[in-house]
Symmetry: C2
Subunit: 215 residues, 2 copies
């Protein structure tokens, strides 16, 4: 059965990575089948929510029989594009760039780190997990030789837009942006923002509200 | 005029950090007043959305007069709890923990880094921006002496729940969780998750969908 990604609602898509994570854990525990009620207990969502979400993947999970864990894991992975390889580079090889480069789990999901770039000459010649840190001057040449799908931006916001434009001009189609700025790029460029300080503000908002309610 | 946080809807709250960022940029550019239509052009949201959102902060922004940038920046900051100091520690002083510790902008918004903790003895004696890296064995003692509101978890998921429980038992009320696991903690503990690999999956989903639509 072929599952068409476009048929599935955005709300379900947003929940898929979490299903994928729990199913991956079940596989590593050697669990082959799981009922929606067992999965419900683990994930702390209702069994009916799980049944509705997973019905998008066809008629698995018959009453009393449960879901085939491995099958579902792979189907969800396909929807998320994890069955394909995505060549990736990281621009900015400071602590955050190095943390992402060292996160080997990405590689297991098809995100292949092809290069790291920085302006700091002291980083030249270093490499992380076998991937050399190159200087920014070499970026355009590199992009002409190697097809890169995703560029991760872990550079200060002052230079982020300028660098993003170079990336887009050289065929990069998706940007994972950690710079604290909205990149205004052509509409066909896919941008996923991680604004950590805005995330921290949400935390402090919730602390303030909690303190007000309990004062 | 006193603005009560609880009156403002969650949807507006979710947009406040972005307003705060843009208003901060306007301040640093020396802009004192801005109309909703000018702000609309900058932020690429409709002027009516902006007027609706900012009406929550009282009757500023009269027709033809515009918003008082500094006033609005501070009011939004108050709602977000940025007018108060939040003592913070970081558990896990690897690349990601160091990246967050080095991000001086947090300090400017009231997030005061009081300590870093790690299990790696090679990090002992090091410090980041003057804050020493301590060993995990010293955590409980430290929490008894220093009131900590927020703990940032940048440790592998295998140890995250165990450490979170120690934090909660010792009075930490909020956890900024980068470990790739759902922490099941008492309901009065505020948890904000940053699941980076799930964010990356959203990017690869959008790439797959784009490729399907253009193939």
């Amino acid at each position: 059965m072929i599952v068409e990604a476009r048929e599935i609602s955005q709300a379900v898509i947003g929940r898929l990575p979490r299903y994928h994570r729990y199913l991956g854990e079940l596989i590593s525990e050697g669990v082959e089948r799981i009922s929606s009620s067992e999965l419900s207990k683990r994930m702390k969502v209702t069994a009916s929510q799980i049944r509705q979400d997973l019905n998008n993947f066809g008629g698995f999970g018959q009453q009393g029989y449960g879901y085939n864990v491995k099958y579902l894991y792979h189907e969800i992975g396909k929807i998320l594009g994890l069955d394909k390889e995505h060549n990736m580079i990281i621009i900015g090889a400071g602590n955050l760039g190095q943390a992402l480069a060292n996160y080997a789990a990405f590689e297991g999901r098809g995100f292949i780190l092809k290069g790291l770039f920085d302006v700091n000459p002291r980083l030249q010649g270093m490499s992380i997990r076998g991937v050399p840190i190159r200087m920014m001057d070499d970026l355009e040449e590199f992009l002409k030789e190697t097809k890169i799908e995703i560029a991760t931006l872990t550079i200060p916001k002052a230079r982020a837009l300028e660098v993003a434009n170079i990336l887009v001009e050289n065929g990069v189609k998706a940007i994972w942006n950690f710079a604290h700025i909205d990149l205004n790029l052509p509409e066909d460029v896919i941008v996923e923002n991680v604004h950590l300080s805005e995330n921290l503000m949400k935390l402090s908002y919730n602390i303030s509200r909690y303190n007000e309610e309990h004062s």
